[in-house]
């Protein structure tokens, strides 16, 4: 497809792939978060089918904290991968500079 070699520019097919990937990753995040928060907040006694106030509050805080942690780790990973890319660029530039 035309434009597939252009960096930064995405054609329709690639856009679709990226969107699919994003949906898949979001779903994975949601599933993991659900499993973790359920494990932390909902005891397995099962005396009642309704959520108690404590459990509701716990789940609310759990989700908020999970997304906070997720964002922090995302920032860290972005910084690291950016630093690595800069390093690669400077290395390649240095290689090209030497005759």
């Amino acid at each position: 497809m035309a434009g597939s070699g252009v960096p930064g520019g995405l054609n329709e097919g690639q856009m679709k792939l990226m969107q699919d990937l994003e949906v898949e990753v979001m779903a994975d995040l949601f599933n993991r978060m659900t499993a973790v928060c359920h494990r932390k907040c909902v005891p397995t006694k099962y005396r009642d089918s309704e959520l108690s106030k404590g459990e509701s509050v716990c789940l609310d805080r759990c989700v908020a904290k999970y997304l906070d942690v997720h964002e922090r780790i995302g920032q860290k990973l972005t910084n690291i991968s950016q630093a690595e890319q800069e390093q690669m660029k400077s290395m390649m530039a240095a290689q090209q500079a030497t005759p």
Binding site: S4, L10, Q14, L17, L21, E24, V25, D28, L29, R32, M33, A35, V36, K40, C41, C58, D60, R61, C62, A64, K65, Y66, D68, V69, H70, R72, I73, G74, K76, L77, I80, S81
Partner: protein, 118 residues
């Protein structure tokens, strides 16, 4: 962006999710507040760093060891092929009524074929 890049991106994002889950489970001790506490923040930073470093180390060792494993496997396969060929060529020899004479002959010939193959 080709399939390899997309695969890399998918691996990266899955690793991201896995690190989030693990570090949250290990580091977030109390759910009494909606905000993440400072000691939890520090724990998460260390946890993420450790996971990233161990990931890099694992990749490094894997790239070292994997080619050796593949080479060994190829060697074994070639050896087995040579043995099968030698056995087949020994069977194809004309059989005479005197079995005792043929057997040592076949053994010698298959041994020679093996030596040639190696």
């Amino acid at each position: 962006m080709d399939t390899q890049s997309i695969r890399n991106l998918r691996d990266f994002l899955q690793m991201y999710n896995r690190i989030s889950e693990t570090c949250f489970t290990q580091c977030i001790s109390s759910l009494l507040e909606r905000d993440v506490q400072s000691d939890e923040v520090a724990c998460v930073q260390r946890c993420a760093d450790k996971h990233i470093n161990s990931n890099q180390k694992i990749m490094q060792v894997f790239m070292e060891v994997q080619p050796q494993v593949v080479a060994k496997r190829m060697e074994k396969m070639e050896q087995q092929m040579a043995e099968t060929q030698a056995a087949e060529s020994a069977e194809a020899q004309p059989q005479t009524a005197e079995a005792t004479e043929v057997q040592p002959q076949a053994a010698v010939e298959s041994a020679q074929a093996e030596a040639v193959a190696q």
